[in-house]
Structure formats: C-alpha cells, structure tokens
C-alpha cells in the first residue's frame, strides 16, 4: 500500500465515522430551531459564549455539558446491569455503522487507481443497511427488558413490534427498487440515477418509483422511532418507554443514537431515491471534463450568494427593541466577517484549480468535493423533512400503526412489485 492508499483509507473511514457524529449537533440544532419555527416561537437563542450565540448552536454545548455532568444512576432493582449498559451502545453503534456503506461521492480515480468512496468498500450495499437496522432492535429490546419496569417493558414491546413489522414493507419497497436498478450496490444505484429520462428528467428513484418512495419513507420513519411513530416513548401513556430508567450519558447515547439513525436513514433515502451524490444534469464525467468552467462559475456565484447571506444575517440578528450599541449587530458583523473569510479561502482554492492542468488529479478531487457537498446538502434537506413531519403530525394510536403497516403498506408494496415487474419486463 502506498502512502496515498493509506491516506485515502483514513479519510474515508474518518468521513463515515465523524460526519454522522457531527450531524448529531446539526440535527439537534435543526430540531430545536425547527420546532420553534413550526410553533411560531424563537427556539433556543439565549445560550452564548461571550455574547456569541451562533444561531442557537451554543445551546448544544450547554446540553452536552449538562448530560455529561449529571449523576449516572443505575437503580438497585436492575438485575442485569450488563445488558442495561450494553443496550444504548448497541443502538448507537448499529446506527453509526449502518452509514458505512453509503457512497458520498463517485469512485475517485487517482493515478489510474480507483477508490470507492464509502466507509467500508463492500458491494452488498443495501443488504448491509437492512442487517444493521435489524440490530438496532436488540438495543431497544434489551433496554426495555433490563429496566425491569412496566413502562420500560411496554415501551420495548411496542417499539420492537413496530420495528419488526415495518421492516417488511421497507424490504418489499427495496425489492421493487432492485428490480429497477438491477443491483444492490449503492454506488451503482447512484450512478444509475445520474442518467436522464427522455433526455431531460434526472432518473432519480423518486421519479421511477413514486409509490415505493412513499412506502419506504413511512417505513423509515417507523424504523427510526420518530413521530408520528414514536409510540415507544409515548409520554402521556408510558412516561418515556424503553429509556425511562436511563439517566445522564446513557440516556444521551440513546438520544444520539436516534439522531444518527435519522442521519443514516436520510442518507439511505437520498441514495436510493434522490440520486445520492449526483448533481442533477451533471454526471461525474461531465463534471470532470468541465471542471474549470464550473469552478469559474462557482467563483462568480459564491461572493454573490454571500452578499445576500450577509444581508439576511444583518436583517435577522438584531434586537427586537431599541438598544444602545446593540450587541447583536456587533455579533452579526463578526459572523459576516467569518463567512467572508471562508468565501475568500474557497475562492483561493478554486483559483488554484483554474491554474492546474485540466482533467488532472485536481479536477477529480474537486469533483469529489462537489459531490460530497451535494450529498450532505441533500441529506440535510431530508433531515429537515423528518423534523417537519415530527412537529406537524400528532402521534398514531398503536392499533392504527399496526393496521397501517400490515393492511395498507404491505399490500401496496406487493402491488408495487408487480407493477414494477410488469413495466420492466414490457420495456426490456
């Protein structure tokens, strides 16, 4: 292995491990600001470091410090302490590892060698995600059972039954998708979605499989135990469900596991139905051959976008009543300077790319970075959909939930397989 190989392995593994962890902070922040937005209130905007609130991101640090320094209680009535401690770890790591097979950029070709941009370069793709999604159930079952508490047990039973029954429509929705794509490899699926339908529509999964997308989306909401399917922790009936006995960091690990699961399933939804890392109308080859014009357009576009962004910050980051020497205006000015600095650094990078030889390694790396940003942007939008649904819809009743899974989604998914099969056979 050359030095380049080792560096790329380290970069890919680090990306697959740390990006979900970073997104916990982003998700929690989006959740709180989103809740504020949907309920017509401000959301967390007071926590600050020397007056800098970073739009509420500092609240995450405060929450983290609170959870970290809380007393970690394991009640005496808990007999199986090993499983009690193991349960949150299973939930957390199963969610984290399930992201490892998602490609975040097209295969990178450097010096004639190709590198698959995934955490684990394995081609079973979606099967790995299904397997790890199944492992998450162990954590919930063990947590509910080892709590030795009727609320915990009921929450565990509910959650396990829900996850197991929604795995079936999810698997069937994936089957019809596999019929369309003809592969289980997520990278090949993303490459397939780079093509154009009738020459002008991107061949994204959502266009080829609208019904399958709805089924998969609903099942993914249920799998991640998010509202409207969060009966496992129905506060009004069973207090907090399977994590009622957990405190401090053990609770925090459950909490982080839930957000990582949300990130991972958003990443899977994006890869399966929204073209993954593909930029619409610009397949990887086109991007590589037009790297310089695109870089030039970005160089023009970035300052223009930043100008409007700066205006937006300045308009919104002010006190709502007249104050002398408004500290928020001062704060906004600092943010704007930071962002302009970032834009200048990016401009320098793009300028360096313009000086490089065309279609060389620099162009390839530039395309990978573009695709990574596209992928993360799409995933962030999908996470926003999760938050949107959570703060808009009320919770289902338990029998409605099971009815929806078995009597609506399952037949629809089967029907979808038959329709897809018929169309694929007719067209081939």
């Amino acid at each position: 292995m050359s030095l380049l190989d080792i560096i790329l392995v380290a970069v890919r593994v680090a990306f697959a491990a740390f990006i979900p962890l970073c997104f916990i902070a982003v998700c929690v922040w989006m959740e709180r600001r989103g809740a504020g937005f949907f309920q017509d209130r401000a959301g967390p905007n007071r926590a600050n470091i020397f007056g800098f609130r970073a739009a509420g991101l500092v609240q995450n640090l405060a929450d983290g410090a609170k959870l970290f320094f809380k007393e970690d209680v394991i009640s005496d009535h808990i007999k199986h302490k090993f499983y009690f401690v193991l349960a949150p770890l299973i939930v957390f790591f199963a969610a984290l590892v399930s992201f490892a097979v998602v490609p975040f950029a097209d295969t990178l070709v450097l010096n004639g060698k190709s590198y698959i941009m995934q955490g684990i370069p394995i081609d079973i793709g979606i099967l790995w995600f299904l397997a790890l999604a199944g492992f998450g159930v162990y954590g919930i079952i063990l947590a509910g059972w080892s709590s030795r508490n009727k609320y915990g047990l009921l929450g565990g039973v509910r959650s396990a039954a829900q996850v197991i029954s929604y795995e079936i429509p999810m698997g069937l929705a994936i089957v019809s998708l596999l019929v369309v794509y003809g592969t289980v490899n997520l990278n090949e699926m993303a490459q397939f979605q780079g093509k154009l339908l009738f020459g002008f529509i991107p061949m994204w999964g959502i266009i080829l499989q609208p019904l399958g997308f709805m089924i998969f989306l609903i099942a993914a909401f249920a799998e991640t135990n998010r509202t409207p399917f969060d009966l496992a922790e129905g506060e009004s009936e069973i207090v907090a469900g399977f994590h009622v006995e957990y405190s401090a960091m053990k609770f925090a690990i459950f909490f982080m596991g839930e957000y990582i699961a949300m990130f991972a399933s958003s990443a899977i939804i994006v890869t399966l139905y929204f073209g993954g890392y593909q930029i619409p109308f610009l397949a990887t080859d086109t991007l590589i051959s037009y790297a310089k014009p695109i870089a030039f357009l970005l160089m023009l576009g970035l300052p223009a976008g930043m100008y409007f962004f700066a205006g937006w910050i300045r308009r919104n980051n002010v006190s709502h009543y007249p104050r002398e020497n408004d500290p928020r205006v001062y704060e906004a000015n600092i943010y704007i300077k930071c962002f302009w600095g970032l834009v200048i650094v990016l401009e320098l990078f793009l300028f360096a790319l313009l000086l490089c030889q065309s279609e060389g390694s620099a162009a390839h790396i530039f395309v990978v970075l573009l695709q990574v940003s596209t992928f993360l942007l799409k995933v962030t939008m999908m996470i926003f959909v999760y938050i949107w649904v959570r703060w808009t819809l009320p919770r289902f009743r338990y029998d409605q939930l099971q009815k929806l899974g078995w009597q609506v989604l399952l037949p629809l998914a089967l029907l979808n397989i038959f329709i897809t099969g018929a169309i694929v056979v007719a067209l081939s």
């Binding site: 079973i124 099967l127 199944g134 162990y138 039954a161 197991i164």
Partner: protein, 169 residues
C-alpha cells in the same frame, strides 16, 4: 495472515457462544450467546467469500429470528424464580461428555488426516449477489420454487392453526 487471525477469532467466539447457550441458566443470556454464535458464523461465511450468505445470515438469523426470540423472552418476562430447578445438570453434563468423547476423538482423527493444501481466494465474483441469483434462477429454479412453496405452506399452516384455537374457545 490477517484472515487466519480473523478465522481463529470468529471460531473461538462461535464455540464460546454455543457453550454459553447450553450452560447459561437465564434464557436471555442463552439467547444473547446464540446471537454471538450467529454473528461469528456470518464472519466465517464472509471469510469464505460468500458475501450474499454473510448478508443473509446477518439479516435473517442474527437480525430477524433472534430479535423475535428476544421479543418472546421479553414478552414472557421470565424471572429467575420461574425457571425450573436443575439439580442433576452436572451429572447430565458429565454423562453427555462421556457419550460424546468417542465422536470427538473420531473428528480429531479425521481433521488430522486431512491433506495439507494451500487455499486461494475464489475469483469471478464467487458468492456475490448477482452470481448466486443467476445460479438460483437459472440452474436451480424448480427446487428453489418448490422450497418457497414449502415455506408458504408452513406459513399458512401456522396462521390457520393459530386461528383455529381462538374459534374453539
């Protein structure tokens, strides 16, 4: 070399899990040991470059079936007092060991008489999803379909049997 270490690790884990399954008293401990065995078996399949079997082992056995078993154990909420007392279990253990000893020596002899040969990695996507799929649906289509009908019959049978009992009440 690395694969050898992985093989040793997975084998030890799977045997330990199997021993745990029969020796642990609490059903939850037994079930968790079985999970360890199933996952390490999946690792062994992966070492044999059977990628599809690896994934299926994880999804079906380690994921679905074992989580249903755990679910049932949780549902029944078995406590230590509910378990039967097994006073003579060490006697049974010794008896079983004595009975199995000849088989063990026989197996040992077989393993020792195996000719030493170099193993190589099978190429051409052996064990991949596409290859196994093509094999199943081209050469083994009829047996495959018959097995699926068998499973369907078992499924319907289970539903019918479970429904009948409710009617007789």
């Amino acid at each position: 070399m690395f694969a050898d270490w992985l093989f040793t690790g997975f084998s030890i884990l799977s045997v330990l899990g199997a021993i745990g399954l029969v020796t642990f008293r609490h059903p939850m401990n037994g079930a968790m040991s079985l999970v360890i065995t199933l996952i390490s078996l999946a690792g062994l399949y992966a070492l044999l470059s059977a990628k599809l079997i690896f994934a299926i082992q994880l999804i079906v056995y380690a994921g679905a079936i074992m989580s249903l078993i755990l679910f049932i154990i949780m549902f029944l909420n078995v406590q230590t007092d509910d378990l039967p007392e097994e006073k003579d279990r060490f006697l049974y253990l010794i008896g079983g060991g004595v009975v199995l000893a000849p088989v063990f020596f026989f197996l040992k002899k077989i393993v020792q008489s195996l000719p030493a040969s170099e193993t190589t990695i099978v190429g051409n996507g052996f064990g991949g999803v596409k290859e196994v799929g093509l094999l199943l649906f081209k050469d083994w289509l009829l047996p495959f379909e018959i097995v699926s009908i068998l499973l369907l019959v078992a499924l319907i049978g289970a539903v019918v049997l479970a429904g009948k009992r409710r009617v007789s009440k």
